[in-house]
């Protein structure tokens, strides 16, 4: 009960922040919540199920492009295109998983990376439709869902909050469910889990598809919120970022993705304001993290203060 209250309190703080944050941080917070949703998706595969994918940009950008192209070139209603985004992310993840999950460890990382790179190259190759490297912007009408205009900062914040809240509570429910425990069992010892009668391939496929669905939802929402769909979101950088966010915040924790995304976002923001070598600062922080908190910040909290933190 205490743990549920803690997570609800975090949501309450996020809901309240929109009324006190100055404009700059208001937009940042909305962006962070959507990116943290992407990190939650990644965390379900990596943190809870032990699947280290280097191709998650495929699912994030897949959702973004599905929604963006459908609304921009297909003439779909934005709300309908917004539903298609997560479905595209989930379907792509399931399709990749059917092949990639026949491998494990480094081979799995490479196979997922290759799929994402192929998708990135496809975006560049079919630039006539996708806008290539430059991408394309979405018109004002394309960002309006009923009476709600996602170009409006307050609406944008609310949309990001609702998306993040749903993903976070869903992840919390998963972590506390029987299915979540089986995923942790697969992560800890796949062979032993199989020897207890579980089809571990199916469990991992479910985890990857759910992860892709949430990542796709984040990508689709990001595209509509900020009115831009671009090839850079399919690049390897966007596969590495959620890994860093999750490692920083704490893999296999519900709140870790939010903490890691927020800290890394503001660390880069601050470092680039004081030095041109901002990546050096980020690198130094990551080295310190690996040395002193290899399980991430909330992993540290879980080890020393809150053993039952989900």
């Amino acid at each position: 009960m205490r743990m549920i209250a803690l997570h609800l309190a975090v949501l309450a703080v996020l809901a309240a922040l929109q009324f006190v944050l100055p404009a700059y941080h208001h937009t940042n917070a909305a962006r962070i919540m959507v990116l943290a949703t992407y990190a939650i998706g990644f965390n379900i595969a990596f943190g809870y199920s032990g699947l280290l994918s280097l191709g998650h940009a495929l699912f994030f950008a897949g959702g973004m492009y599905a929604t963006g192209l459908l609304v921009d070139q297909g003439g779909w209603q934005p709300w309908l295109a917004l539903v298609a985004g997560p479905l595209a992310g989930g379907a792509l993840a399931a399709a990749v998983g059917l092949l990639a999950l026949r491998t494990a460890g480094p081979a799995f990382m490479i196979v997922t990376l290759m799929f994402a790179q192929a998708f990135h190259l496809a975006i560049l190759y079919w630039g006539r439709f996708t806008g290539g490297d430059e991408g394309f912007t979405l018109s004002g009408a394309a960002r309006r869902i009923g009476a709600f205009d996602l170009a409006d900062p307050a609406t944008r914040y609310t949309a990001a909050f609702l998306l993040f809240g749903a993903a976070m509570l869903g992840c919390l429910a998963l972590a506390r469910s029987r299915t979540g425990r089986v995923l942790v069992a697969v992560r800890e010892n796949e062979e032993r889990t199989r020897m207890l009668g579980y089809d571990t391939f199916r469990a991992k496929l479910f985890a990857l598809a759910l992860s892709g669905l949430i990542s796709g939802a984040a990508g689709a929402t990001y595209g509509l919120m900020f009115g831009y769909v671009g090839g850079s979101f399919a690049s390897i950088q966007y596969s590495i970022l959620p890994l860093i966010w999750v490692l920083l915040g704490g893999a296999g924790t519900v709140l870790g993705p939010l903490l890691g995304t927020a800290l890394m976002f503001y660390l880069i923001d601050w470092a680039s304001s004081v030095t041109t070598a901002s990546q050096f600062v980020v690198g130094a922080v990551l080295i310190l993290l690996v040395l002193f908190a290899p399980r991430g910040l909330l992993g540290l909290v879980r080890d020393h203060a809150m053993r039952r933190l989900p």
Partner: protein, 231 residues
């Protein structure tokens, strides 16, 4: 009940089991003895579908097990406790048991029976498995396998590295399983344990069961121990 007939199996090109035949009966403890590398653990892994057979057949109550996906075999009623326990460290005792219970849909009654068998686990239900002592971890590993309500229980050196009081407890558990009508296959290297627990003893040598004898026919000085185990 559980039968292996002419089983060939191994790892890649290395053949370990060479025409191995073996049987375990309900309500009996069959101890498997042999030197390191003789094929004892490989036999258990072959039963569990972890390594494919290149020849022979394995059946439980007449139903073929070889060729089935590995995850289907525990569902048919075979519990396996490998060497090294292999618990799910970050999960609690209760959650480890729950994972065992979920497989075959067994509920509170089975859980209670397991906890009655290992009262110490009841005291540690909320504790994460990684923080248990070696003996408690072995109890949990066996308890989790028992959640499957197995007809056959495969135990691979369950008392290895445990203190005497825990060894006695594990041996009591083996007797209880026998009393429940479970066919217990116990890989064990300690002669006194084998003579105390076993109904039959199968001696494995170079991937085959060389000899199977009633335990009552064996004494600590029996030549089979020197020949097949080297003690």
């Amino acid at each position: 009940m559980l039968t292996l007939e002419g089983v060939d199996a191994g790892y890649g090109r290395v053949q370990v089991l060479r025409g191995l035949s073996f049987a375990a009966q309900a309500g009996e403890v069959t101890c498997v003895m042999g030197r390191n590398g003789a094929g004892k653990t490989t036999m258990l892994r072959a039963i569990m579908g972890q390594i494919p057979l290149t020849a022979g057949r394995i059946a439980l109550d007449g139903q073929r097990l070889d060729g089935l996906p590995a995850h289907r075999i525990p569902r048919l009623g075979i519990g396996y406790v490998p060497q090294g326990r292999r618990l799910f460290g970050p999960l609690t005792v209760a959650e480890n048991l729950e994972i065992g219970l979920m497989t075959r849909g067994h509920g509170a009654r089975t859980r209670e029976r397991v906890l009655d068998l290992f009262p110490r686990l009841r005291e540690r239900l909320g504790q994460t498995a990684s923080t248990l002592s070696g003996g408690e971890q072995q109890m949990l590993a066996i308890g989790r396998a028992l959640c499957l309500e197995p007809k056959v229980m495969l135990l691979d050196e369950p008392t290895e590295g445990l203190q005497p009081s825990m060894i006695a407890l594990i041996r009591d558990t083996v007797r209880t399983l026998r009393g429940m009508g479970v066919a217990v296959v116990l890989v064990e290297q300690r002669i006194e344990a084998v003579l105390e627990l076993a109904d039959r003893v199968a001696f494995v040598e170079t991937g085959q069961v060389a000899e199977t004898l009633p335990a009552a026919d064996l004494t600590p000085a029996a030549p089979q121990f020197a020949r097949y185990v080297g003690v």
